[in-house]
Symmetry: C2
Subunit: 316 residues, 2 copies
């Protein structure tokens, strides 16, 4: 469930665009006004505001925001205002230009979006970067990371609930055999995780757990510093329990010396319209503190206000 709060009566896109334009005028910027509008409009509404703004003032709203704002608040507003497909294209592209740790972002996009949303992100990538997401990811990764990430990103998974139990058994056995042989990057492991539907993978991993006595992620922990194994475990978590995966990303971002605003902004902006309510529950359960208190304790100013608005605090 989403945490985004949209007021029951929404001003027209033209009114919103007009108000935003006002917020940029004069001495200093009215950040509170910007938050009160953008943090309370859904993706379709934001897209209309952006279109109307461009028609009325001859400039992309994102360009205006970019001129007026700065630092973490700016990034949060910009990333949020993008339409989801465009935002995923932007985040994926950015990741191909950063360090290997950003492999996680690629994996996260590949595993937690619906098949059609992932496809739309790839279309947006073509339109914006004049290349394909796959070629950039393939080009910027290597070895086992590439072997896992490119097919994860490429497959168009079936999304029905149908499960083949015979197949679940036989593929659980394959996974077990490969893991026993420490063949963690084996083609069969990659094939199963990258092509089967999430429902089928879930059935396979349940069978694995029942039959072999351990959750698969336990068996994938012989060396907790192996970066590929970390990514493989995170992949499995994303495919089977995305809200737990996102809870952990938030936990690490907040607990880190100095807060990882890059991760914090990404999770809040990409999940606010999707499943942030569930992520908040997981967070509270795991950390014994509500997410809004943790965020308030670790951030400040307009950035804090923006994040809290997106996770459903304050009035719409």
């Amino acid at each position: 469930m989403a945490t985004l709060k949209v007021p029951s009566s929404v001003p027209s896109p033209a009114e919103d665009a007009e108000q935003l334009h006002k917020a940029f005028l004069g001495w200093g910027t009215n950040e509170a006004l910007i938050i009160s509008i953008l943090a309370h409009r859904n993706g379709a509404q934001r897209a209309l505001i952006r279109k109307t703004y461009n028609e009325a003032f001859g400039e992309d709203l994102l360009t205006s925001l970019d001129k007026e704002l700065s630092s973490d608040f700016e990034r949060a507003i910009l990333v949020w205002t993008l339409e989801p497909a465009e935002r995923d294209a932007f985040l994926a592209n950015e990741s191909t230009k950063r360090l290997t740790s950003s492999n996680w972002v690629i994996m996260e996009i590949a595993c937690t979006r619906s098949s059609i949303d992932l496809f739309k992100a790839k279309q947006a990538y073509h339109a914006r970067f004049k290349k394909s997401m796959e070629e950039d990811v393939a080009h910027h990764t290597s070895g086992d990371f590439r072997k896992l990430l490119v097919p994860l990103l490429s497959a168009f998974r079936y999304e029905g609930d149908e499960v083949n139990m015979r197949l679940a058994k036989s593929e659980a056995k394959i996974l077990r055999d490969k893991i026993s042989d420490k063949a963690y990057n084996d083609d069969e492991i990659i094939r199963i995780l990258t092509t089967r539907s999430k429902a089928q993978i879930n059935a396979t991993l349940n069978h694995y757990n029942n039959e072999f006595g351990n959750a698969i992620n336990k068996d994938l922990k012989p060396d907790s510093n192996d970066e590929f194994l970390k990514l493989l475990r995170a992949t499995i978590k994303c495919l089977t329990s995305p809200e737990k995966y996102f809870e952990k990303v938030l936990r690490l971002a907040i607990n880190k010396q100095g807060t990882d605003e890059w991760a914090l902004t990404r999770v809040v902006t990409t999940r606010a319209e999707v499943d942030m309510e569930r992520v908040k529950e997981e967070y509270h359960k795991r950390n014994s503190i509500p997410l809004e208190r943790a965020i308030a304790g670790d951030t400040s100013g307009d950035y804090e206000k923006m994040l809290l608005a997106l996770i459903g605090h304050g009035d719409a």
Copy 2:
């Protein structure tokens, strides 16, 4: 250019459906009438006829055709009548159940359809088979074949004309190095062929030819019986000169002892609305006989009439 001939004035879908229904009635089936309608309607028109037929007579037109017709003619009519996305899903699925030689069909679908048409075929596959094309192909192939086919099928290639010449040079060098080492299944070769746009691949292969003195397919022929190398060469041909690839499939199908109707029907039905005019030109040039004469010499009866109608012979 397509060879399909649609009459300047087309009857309504209801009239066409009515006529088809009449063709099935009474003693024997009126095959000539069926051909005169279905072989002269484009994909959108056939889809409407099928819908109207189902509403009027309570049966899928394909089921009626299946009851009335037989052998090669039946298969040609059925495969042709399917909408392109559904047809590709059907052909791909069929291929995962046949011998390894049918790997070529998967490759052909992956490499000669536009990115969006390939995507639609994958959607049609979900709808019809309740699984993904990728999982079935991955499950039914292995080794180097899987390593090439699954990413070929999965990538959503960029289709713009933009070419990066610096990249073309560096990737031509990579291809050359791997081929010199006889590392034909190397990750880098697969990455380049499966993720780069066709325009970019073309630029890379042109540079390869200029710089190293041989077309890449010449260098990939150390052993003309290696099945993987054959598939790799065919992949390159499909990506860069699809009409030459299809000419060769037709040539082999027709010259074969006993004609390969499976391949003949596939190429004619899938290309008639796309680029069959170019394929015919290539065929004539390479075999010194027009394709219609070759087909007429090798087939007979309604099957012959259907194929000739689709490649543009006879009146619409």
